[in-house]
């Protein structure tokens, strides 16, 4: 029986798990004006428009890395994940996942990776998840011992026991997502593509999935490429992020470097002791703030932050002052625009 910890050592040898070179995907999308006449006209003469969903994207991910794959809606994240998991054929470029060309869809490749999509179910809705798990055991040819061992591990991490016997359609969204993850991981994939795994979940469920993914990565050394609109997912799990926008790679590197490069400023939150007619805009850019606790936000350049803070402490009747990094959402938003 393969042990999770043993496989961790093997997978953690720093080899390239995912290699993407100038990957491109262009969709042909039918297009027409609105209205009855255009609908009839479109029946006889259909017009198509090329949509470049992914354009010449290149990156490399090492074994055991956990990388956040970010971009606004329609940026090309899901299309890239679909190509890397063998669902879509690219229109250009190359990709190798664990040495396989994904869209050749070799059995050994499909056996060794998984794609979990938060908005789509791979489980059969009419039967309990336990039955779908048994089917996966047969499909992935897992021995009884391996299957029981992995299921127990997943149960420990996700607390599956109370929900395994209910038909999937009767599960809550959070419960279903736990089962989806477990179904996708029963065969111990070495590469995980996770597309919005926490979408629609409440904060507690999100945190639980995050903790699970972190533990899974630590225990198995699996390579994880994760898309999420929740920045908390990314900051909690990924030291490295890849950002794409309009199908093009915008950034590939560390999260902290991203802040430094894209948003080289800090936020000084200040609460004044007495109402004063002070002009705070002379210290930096005054930002609109929630102002619930009476604090005002001033954006200042990182290199000036020490001098400006000293000036403010000397010149203003300060009750409270904190220096904060800009919210990661803002940093990412700037990167999209950059």
């Amino acid at each position: 029986m393969i042990n999770f910890i043993d496989s961790c050592y093997n997978a953690n040898l720093m080899t390239e798990a995912i290699l993407v070179e100038k990957l491109s995907k262009t969709y042909q999308v039918p297009e027409r004006e609105g209205g009855f006449g255009a609908a009839v006209g479109g029946f006889f003469h259909r017009k198509y428009k090329d949509v470049n969903a992914v354009q010449q994207v290149s990156f490399t991910i090492q074994s055991g890395e956990m990388v956040g794959f970010l971009g606004p809606n329609g940026a090309g994240k899901t299309t890239t994940l679909k190509m890397l998991s063998g669902l879509l054929h690219p229109t250009g470029g190359q990709a190798h996942v664990l040495g396989f060309t994904p869209w050749e869809r070799k059995r050994d490749f499909l056996q060794t990776m998984t794609l979990v999509m938060g908005q789509r179910s791979r489980l059969s809705w009419d039967i309990p998840a336990a039955d779908s798990f048994l089917l996966n055991q047969a499909i992935y040819r897992l021995s009884d011992a391996d299957y029981q061992h992995t299921l127990k591990e997943l149960d420990d991490l996700l607390e599956l026991s109370p929900i395994l016997r209910k038909p999937v359609r009767n599960l809550s969204l959070g419960e279903r997502m736990k089962c989806e993850l477990a179904a996708g991981l029963l065969h111990r994939p070495k590469v995980l593509f996770l597309d919005e795994p926490t979408i629609g979940l409440d904060i507690t469920a999100q945190a639980r999935i995050r903790t699970f993914l972190e533990a899974y990565n630590r225990r198995t050394g699996a390579t994880i490429l994760l898309t999420s609109h929740y920045m908390a997912d990314v900051t909690a799990l990924c030291e490295r992020v890849i950002i794409i926008h309009h199908g093009q790679l915008k950034y590939d590197g560390g999260l902290t470097d991203l802040s430094r490069r894209v948003a080289p400023f800090k936020l000084i939150a200040v609460a004044l002791g007495d109402p004063c007619p002070c002009d705070l805009s002379s210290y930096g850019t005054l930002l609109p703030s929630g102002d619930e606790d009476g604090k005002q936000l001033i954006q200042v350049s990182t290199r000036d932050v020490a001098a400006i803070t000293a000036r403010m402490l000397a010149e203003l009747p300060i009750h409270d002052l904190t220096i904060e990094d800009p919210p990661i959402e803002d940093v990412i938003e700037r990167a999209f625009q950059g």
């Binding site: 669902l87 879509l88 054929h89 999509m117 789509r120 009419d126 048994l134 047969a138």
Partner: protein
């Protein structure tokens, strides 16, 4: 591989039992057309004495045999697969290291057949009591000889049905193409009317098409009505069509998966 089929069977079996009303209505739909044809042709034969030598009882025997053969050789792939291509849910199947059509789809077809038979057999026995078919010509040998024809018929109809459904990779919606295909099958398989009542041109064409293996050939073999040389010819035609169907399905599936855009999923 056997373990995969066994588990797929359990899952499909459990799923199909979930919707009893749906199952029953589906079966009734399946029963309606043969019974209508039976009623129409027996009425005509009774009024004229016979139609091209076929008596009312011959029609009764033919259509009641058809009810069984129809269940065995027909397929429902379009209903299992087309919507998955259309809405992108096929993605989930494509991520597994098994062929979705030759495993899940095939087992789904077989599970539906077994379930249908559970309900069909009592209804069929009741119809036999009502219409008194003449099965005196049926022997154990004729039934055994028909088994390869039934297997050939199902294999070809399954592969052609799957190939047709794969057109959804290009057209997205495939149901109207399916309606046309099933109308052709109805005409050339001997379901609408026994093939010997068709105009000679249609009959000659039917011998070269695979559809006669879906209904007419197995029925006529079971009822001991088909000469040995015709059986041999139909088997040869069947094997040729099986080979064509395998190549066609393989090609269209590979091309289709390349085109698959996995919308929404």
């Amino acid at each position: 591989m056997l373990q995969i089929y066994r588990r797929l069977w359990q899952v499909n079996w459990a799923e199909q039992w979930q919707y009893r009303a749906n199952l029953l209505m589906y079966l009734l739909y399946w029963l309606v057309s043969p019974i209508v044809y039976l009623a129409v042709w027996t009425t005509i034969a009774n009024s004229q004495g016979s139609v091209n030598g076929l008596t009312a009882n011959d029609f009764v025997t033919y259509y009641l045999t058809l009810l069984i053969v129809d269940q065995l050789t027909s397929e429902i792939t379009i209903h299992i697969l087309a919507y998955k291509i259309q809405d992108g849910t096929l993605s989930g199947d494509l991520l597994r290291p098994i062929h979705p059509i030759l495993t899940n789809c095939l087992v789904n077809n077989l599970a539906m057949k077994v379930l249908n038979f559970i309900v069909l057999i009592p209804i069929w026995l009741l119809l036999c009591l009502l219409f008194h078919p003449n099965f005196s010509s049926v022997t154990i040998y004729s039934v055994l000889l028909a088994i390869p024809a039934i297997l050939l018929g199902f294999a070809i109809s399954f592969l052609l049905g799957a190939s047709l459904t794969c057109l959804a990779f290009w057209t997205t919606r495939v149901y109207s193409i399916g309606e046309f295909y099933y109308a052709v099958v109805l005409l050339f398989s001997g379901q609408f009317v026994p093939l010997q009542l068709m105009p000679p041109v249609i009959q000659r064409l039917a011998w070269f098409l695979p559809f006669q293996l879906f209904r007419f050939t197995p029925i006529e073999i079971i009822l001991n009505q088909m000469p040995a040389d015709v059986i041999l010819r139909n088997y040869i035609v069947g094997v040729i069509w099986l080979i064509i169907s395998i190549f066609l399905f393989n090609w269209i599936w590979r091309q289709g998966v390349k085109r698959f855009s996995a919308v929404g999923a």
